[in-house]
Symmetry: C2
Subunit: 671 residues, 2 copies
């Protein structure tokens, strides 16, 4: 029976008195095995089925605390429907919260309901009143201060057999007595649900972020290897587009052994810079900075100047080694060895990746390896880095991630980890459960309206919404989709709008994105031709056709509209043209309606069929849709409205939706 | 972190080596808190998500045992799709089975996959072969007998550097080596899922039963109080209709204090027999037999004679007491007391039920009370009763039911408990989770096609299918539905056919049912006029319009068709007339198609739209539908077939569906 004793809500007392059942507590992930995720300031809605046998009233209470707190906070739960109860609490601090639920038979409420009905039927007896007096008297002993006094007096009134029954009942069911009895309930015999659920509370940035990825070495003066100083000098370019996070591929020394040349060739020239993910050389490993990029001091300055602009620097943590990495000699036991004593390089038979040594998570020195890897994060966190993009986490052991992220966040709850796993769905979900703050997704390959709707429903309507925070990237250095290769400017803009409005977390790899780099290495490949992964590129940032202004507009709209700062509250609306994807997002009063022409080549037109109930719009009243991308306003009415989107002009509407409200002028719109 | 440590599949070793994750194991109920239910001989299909990090192959194994067994049986799991794995095991014995899952990284399978690809690409090296030889050599040490020898020889062949690479690879990947390596896998570093799930295995009767309820006191010679001997004398009547279980309302002494008269009046005459559920008098309580019904010896004879006919006697266990019950004096602490010292009678304010004393499950003598109640079951089980219909279990504490049913079934796994709870859905489900074998349902009030489809989907497609066995009753002594009151003969027949073919467990309250008793006590009431609950009735069993022959036919069809002996494998097919409900059930090759005219007044006709894929029927071939109710056969083809059902003749088709198969005669049908 292992595992059973701690599940569910059975008392350890064999002949239990606790008659109340507590089931189906939400939010929960895998039955409570993993925490749900929220950001600071969120209000968590907890629900549970709570019921007892028979017809007695029940009451329930949410208990919660920050893990660091000694005492539990208590919130009375309210009945919703069908034995479901609800309570809310705010998560004001970073870190781990805990909650559970307590429920009990509420004998006073049962009596109170009964006496009201009996009084209405004129069948109240002295015995009935004495039962109530006794319950209230017990309550006065649990209560304190004025409430205790008031309850004691109420009990006395109930026992005044010369007073009228009506007066005594009136006193017994009075609001103040009711509030006092609920404030000091009789919880003897309460069922305490014996799973404690957890909530991981992250910074707001974990829930709402715009990432920009660039290769520092391409940002030098024309012809020169770029440096961290060059990046710092271009921070305004990134800030002006409105990004929060500037993410740099690995900045460490790059191995020389079996270095790759341009376009992944095996015969590099003397000056070819190699692949940043082939980490480690004589100059150092995961805590060193590539000499051509600069020094640790340069890095600190970059962090500081970025911080001045509200930008955080995200580092790429790729746990693999070039053959020249110091660990290869210092810790050979962390690598698997071949029969000839050489270290086992990466393989995907029959392909060999002899320039990369994977770490062996089955090494007998797991403790040494795990702690060394933890110390890599800790080193950069010590330098002030709080955001990490983790390379291929799905090729490292799950228990390691669960341990290392929890271990690091214990003292640094502000850390954000983005999982770069493009693999099978259950593996991606498990990484998020194990602790990753955000996750790359399949967004890049979801192009049709059906695909996008289905994917968003999966991410937002099911259990994944509790722990998997999607981060949508239309491109990455590894992913130049066929859609972008062939779709031209319209494709880049519509993928930008989709990424930035479907998901509150998104990112682009630039300047390849804004300059619409679209040529693959070869037909059928998603690799860029002349990819920065293998060579230095120079970008003409001020090209007149750059998407920079549109990206800036999209990020500005996101900052102005809370509806776009969350992912789960999304609603898809039908259109009569499946090339037109239509969805609304809401946060409080803020309502944004997006319509995207998914066809990057042709103008598409059609009629919306808006769910007015969902939008909170009266069918008989006009409402204003304000296109924030092109600053144009329309008056619409009803569910059916005509739209026409030319991808060569602007393939999307991003509307702020303003409902009409009755004011003294009778024609104002709710802003 | 209470409750967490035992959830999921994390090793207790902090720096864990176990890289394999095991998630989403099915069947499970409330995360493993309760057992799933099966009947003896069932094959349980266990599924789980099993995956590791990276690209290494994984393997998984199901471990199961009867709880009484010392050792675990092991079954290799097979990969299904999307990281889902599956294995099956048969539950051959009654009682509780346990299972869990183990998964590990399969280094040999990984190597074998790799060497096949490398060989195809012509890049096999000596080192590659040595790695395989080493893995196989390790395998030979784990293996025994001939397999050990064969593996040892295989390792030797792999190391014969003078032999051709092709020969050595061929030997390494040979089927016998593969089978041997899989038979003796390297499970070091295996993840053992640390929830042990359970399966409660009941008798076949738990899954397939037809119940007949009668009031013994109405079965005497005209004018006399019927006895258990009278019931025994009428067993052939019940057996000829094909029922398995004869269920008797409480057979105990009936209280005199505040006894109810006919039609629930409060002024009974001297000879009025009272309500059988007002249990207890000077003659005894829950283990005594009403003197007017006979003696314990009579009861034993009834059991024996019923057994001769394949009928089991089900007793009604109603845990409540008349004021005259011996417990009231012997164990006053088991009842709640009012301030004046009197015992608290049942109430539903402002109504009072002064003839019934409920038991107080909050008594401080819970141990005494629970054991006394357990002993009531144990007494009758000792007399040979194995089936109990439990009255209003939802008004007794859930922990009591979980304890008492488990306690009783530990030594008597053949016991069957039917929960008579007509209350809120979550309460009904919880009782089933707590151990009830079968459950009454809302069937009586589900009349339209939409209601019936939705309800069947809820019961058969979700988690309830794992633990909630519905028992469908068109009527009970408490429930004469408006549909039966107004629908006439057609209504009785269609409700019979629906109950008996939708659910493998069903029952009727007779002879009220077969004699189509349909007059309510008053308009708007579901109570019978002159209900047997309050008075003795005499039934004209041989009335020519009795439904007895139709009931016999339905029960005969159920016994002949395995498709009707299970509930979950049901498929609804559209029709173009919503008064015609159409569904098929399947078990193995047996396929039954039912079409019911839900309109009890009018002939309804329409076209089926059968899901031929579901039925396994070729669109181009005719198939035979054989109406088992009226012994008529039709040749149908395709999805669309015309049906016409006159409720005044026969409101339903129950078809055996016979698909054409190619034989030497080329026109035979598969029977």
């Amino acid at each position: 029976m292992s595992g059973f004793s701690s599940l569910g809500s059975v008392s350890s007392d064999k002949f239990a008195v606790n008659r109340v059942v507590i089931e189906d507590v939400t939010p929960r992930v895998d039955g409570g095995r993993f925490p749900a995720k929220r950001v600071r300031g969120d209000v968590v809605t907890v629900q549970a089925d709570v019921f007892g046998d028979g017809h007695d009233a029940v009451a329930a209470m949410l208990r919660y605390r920050h893990r660091s707190a000694r005492t539990w906070q208590k919130v009375p739960m309210e009945f919703v429907v069908n034995d479901r109860w609800r309570a809310r609490f705010e998560v004001a601090e970073l870190g781990r919260y805990q909650f559970t639920i307590e429920g009990w038979t509420d004998h006073f409420a049962t009596w109170r309901n009964g006496i009201i009905k009996k009084h209405a039927a004129g069948v109240v007896t002295e015995a009935d009143l004495e039962i109530g007096a006794s319950l209230i008297e017990d309550g006065s002993r649990r209560a304190s201060g004025q409430m205790a006094e008031m309850l004691a007096e109420t009990a006395v009134v109930l026992r005044q057999s010369k007073a009228s029954s009506a007066d005594r009942v009136e006193r017994a069911v009075a609001e103040d007595a009711w509030v006092a009895m609920r404030s000091f309930p009789d919880r003897s015999g309460a069922t305490v649900h014996d799973i404690v659920y957890e909530i991981e509370v992250d910074r707001e940035l974990a829930g709402f972020s715009a990432w920009y990825e660039l290769f520092p070495r391409s940002w030098g003066e024309s012809g020169e290897h770029g440096t961290l100083v060059d990046v710092a000098d271009h921070l305004d370019y990134v800030a002006d587009m409105g990004f929060d996070i500037l993410y740099l591929p690995p900045i460490h020394p790059i191995g020389r052994t079996l270095r790759k040349g341009p376009n992944n060739t095996l015969s590099p020239g003397e000056d070819d810079p190699g692949v940043p993910w082939a980490i480690g050389g004589p100059e150092g490993g995961h805590t060193a900075i590539h000499p051509d990029l600069g020094t640790l001091e340069d890095f600190r300055k970059l962090l500081g100047r970025a911080g001045d602009r509200g930008i955080e620097i995200a580092l790429d943590i790729a746990f693999q080694c070039s053959p020249d990495h110091p660990w290869v000699k210092e810790h050979p036991q962390w690598f698997r060895h071949r029969p000839d004593g050489s270290i086992q390089y990466a393989e995907n038979p029959p392909k060999k990746y002899e320039d990369i040594y994977p770490l062996d998570f089955e090494t007998s020195d797991r403790e040494g390896l795990w702690q060394a890897l933890r110390d890599v994060f800790a080193f950069w966190a010590g330098e002030g880095v709080s955001v990490f993009r983790v390379d291929n986490p799905h090729t490292k052991a799950f228990p390691f991630w669960e341990w290392v992220i929890a271990d690091l966040k214990r003292d640094r709850p502000e850390l954000i980890f983005l999982a770069e796993a493009f693999t099978r769905p259950k593996v991606m979900y498990r990484l998020a459960k194990a602790g990753f703050t955000q996750s790359y997704t399949y967004f890049a390959w979801r192009n049709t309206a059906w695909e996008l709707r289905e994917y968003m429903l999966e991410l937002t309507q099911g259990e994944p919404a509790e722990y998997f925070r999607p981060n949508f990237w239309p491109n990455t250095p590894d992913i130049l989709t066929e859609y972008l290769q062939s779709g031209g400017r319209g494709a880049f803009i519509n993928r930008l709008v989709l990424a930035a409005t479907l998901s509150s977390n998104y990112g682009i790899y630039g300047p390849a994105f804004e300059l619409m780099e679209a040529t693959p290495r070869e037909m059928g490949s998603e690799e860029y031709l002349n990819s920065e992964k293998y060579q230095i590129r120079h970008w003409e940032l001020d090209r007149p056709d750059s998407l920079q202004p549109i990206i800036a507009a999209v990020n500005r709209i996101r900052r102005q509209h809370p509806a776009l700062q969350q992912t789960s509250d999304i609603h898809f609306h039908p259109t009569d043209n499946d090339m037109l994807l239509c969805y609304s997002k809401r946060s409080g009063d803020d309502l944004v309606l997006v319509i995207v022409n998914l066809d990057p080549h042709n103008t598409q037109a059609g009629w919306t069929n808006l769910d007015l109930t969902e939008l909170g719009i009266d069918h008989s009243q006009p409402y204003q849709v304000h296109d924030l991308l092109v600053e144009r306003r329309y008056l619409w009415q009803g569910a059916f409205n005509f739209v026409r989107l030319d991808p060569h002009v602007m393939p999307a509407h991003v509307f702020a939706l303003r409902r009409r409200v009755r004011t003294e002028h009778d024609f104002d719109y709710f802003l």
